[in-house]
Subunit: 366 residues, 2 copies
């Protein structure tokens, strides 16, 4: 058990945005919300999953929809607690804490706002270990946990409760509601007890986010050392460095769809990388060959500062690095690949683990 202070929040927002693989919201917006909350209500207690009781009851809170919308539709602030408390009251259970659904600049911070405001602990876990665009793309889903009852609200004050026959129907009905609410909404779903968290969550993601953020915000190291440290902390790979030469993007059906084209710089000159995204980065190809595939994490960062770049912030001329991390093993199972693999998203490619793609790519250059 420990408390999250302002420095911790700054680090978590940045690190979670890195793990958000382009989605999960802008870390600047996210940290402003959380900093305001802890300034007003005091620091938030972080508990590891081992510290919670099996029988206690927990609810996550998250933003749903197209992250780009948040830039224009800034949260009012009361909607996170409203959706969280609504679900708790509906279930008629005492809620003992909250946790993030996914990593991301905003979605790592919303539960901190809720925790601060209600004086509840934050649990050091999430349901993805990264960010994904749809509601059933959660490790709890892989273990058969129901996404509903769920609560959904908007900044205007409309609120709903859903109970669906399966988690894909949760996604379908929540998605059309989100689109009608203005392409973004706040949701609380996958209510669960401590035992389920211990079994199905991705553990220590808040702490990992914090460590990643600390490296990225480090100012005493030179560029190469900092990059190496980031690789070490994340167990990741540096795949490419280059300059964005094209971004195609569309907000449709409550998602940001698109792709970004990057022309190589330095040792990558004469190569080109394309990263395809749906809120999150999903497939990266170099000169037409896949080099990282969902569910493995594809993270784009600023070439020099290593600050994560969300998909809505991609723009022509930006110089960036493409990094990648192996997904949690839960995602590399058969059901995991069926749920979040490349074919689910419509890409005509089979999943191959990042480690193998890296070796293949190395062999090409021997």
């Amino acid at each position: 058990m420990r408390y999250l202070d302002e420095q911790a929040i700054e680090n978590i927002a940045i690190g979670a945005a890195f793990l958000g693989t382009g989605g999960g919201g802008d870390p600047y917006i996210g940290k402003m919300m959380a900093l305001t909350a802890i300034k007003k209500y005091g620091p938030v207690q972080l508990l590891s999953p081992e510290e919670i009781s099996d029988d206690d009851f927990f609810i996550p809170a998250a933003m749903m929809g197209a992250p780009s919308v948040l830039i224009e539709k800034f949260p009012k602030g009361d909607e996170f607690v409203r959706v969280f408390e609504k679900l708790g009251r509906y279930l008629g259970k005492e809620v003992k804490g909250t946790f993030p659904m996914e990593a991301g600049g905003v979605n790592s911070m919303i539960p901190i706002v809720v925790a601060a405001q209600l004086g509840l602990p934050l649990i050091d876990c999430d349901g993805m270990g990264r960010a994904f665009p749809e509601l059933q793309m959660v490790t709890f889903h892989l273990d058969g946990v129901s996404a509903t009852p769920m609560a959904i609200t908007d900044e205007k004050g409309n609120i709903g409760i859903m109970e669906t026959i399966d988690n894909k129907w949760t996604e379908r009905l929540a998605r059309v509601t989100t689109v009608e609410m203005g392409a973004s909404s706040l949701v609380s779903l996958y209510p669960c007890d401590g035992a389920q968290i211990k079994q199905s969550s991705i553990k220590n993601i808040v702490t990992l986010s914090e460590e990643i953020g600390k490296v990225i915000r480090e100012t005493s190291l030179d560029e190469a050392d900092k990059l190496q440290k980031l690789i070490d902390v994340t167990h990741g790979y540096h795949l490419f460095e280059g300059k964005i030469i094209d971004v195609v993007r569309e907000t449709r059906a409550g998602f940001n769809f698109g792709r970004v084209k990057i022309a190589g710089l330095n040792k990558d000159t004469n190569s080109e990388v394309i990263v395809h995204f749906q809120n999150e980065n999903l497939v990266a190809e170099k000169n037409g060959e896949p080099i990282a595939i969902t569910p493995d994490l594809i993270c784009m960062v600023d070439l020099e500062t290593l600050m994560p770049i969300t998909t809505e912030a991609l723009k022509y001329g930006k110089r960036i690095r493409v990094m990648a991390l192996p997904a949690d093993k839960a995602w590399r199972t058969e059901k995991g690949i069926e749920t979040v693999g490349p074919r689910y998203f419509g890409y005509e490619v089979d999943f191959e683990p990042l480690e193998e793609l890296v070796q293949k790519e190395e062999r090409r250059h021997v």
Copy 2:
């Protein structure tokens, strides 16, 4: 207080379909559902609004969406009671009866199914005195009653509760949910007490439907006498007789949109009527001049049998009569016209009362 038996149900289904002005569902499907229910659970008690207590609590149940979908997606039967009971439980109140939201072949019958199955009385009133396509088009809305909390379900078992900031948001969020559920859903909304029913409902609509149905199903009268009797019972007008020569129709956004063109027969030869609809018939024009305008009721019936024809049953070659009835005075107020007048539906015409349009039309032919 009286009981509704099989004959009453046959009459109500037909009469309510007449008042449904083309919407509210097919009376054959509706009556089959209600007859099955009273065969299994016994006849349903009908109470007039004067017979209920001010403090008792009542909930309507209705189908929402494109009525044409019902033909392919027949109700399973448990969804009416599910949505009704869900809302009751959510509100934590004992529900003392039910009533229809609107007149219509199906929407007059769904509350009878609920009443039979749960042993509750049906109240002799509704919220429209006809049918309209959107959820805020209810006399309770005109008096400031909230449509929510509402419950919504589908035949698969998905269910939701909504609380919205106003009744237009109820319509917006319920509509997208309905579309995603397959273009039709079951809803319970406008929960209210006896005092609100006395103040805001359209009274005796079930009895009026029954009387209309009795005339239409009458076999002892000749055609002219039967038509005159229908005009007398409904305080209506016979506007036109002819043959359908064109139907344009589209199911979009959870509605049936379209228009039907009718070439005159007998004394109306050489004239042409076009009726525009959105689930319900909304504007009728004869040779380019409006002859009946929403909220007044435009009812199309079979030329000989006078059986009501719902918009989804309109087809080339059918010989029909166009009749019209003045709307309840609640709809002819400023707020009424704002809510359900022709301009709300996008027609470039101002509302004129049917009685005046009939006089105008008569003067044209003097």
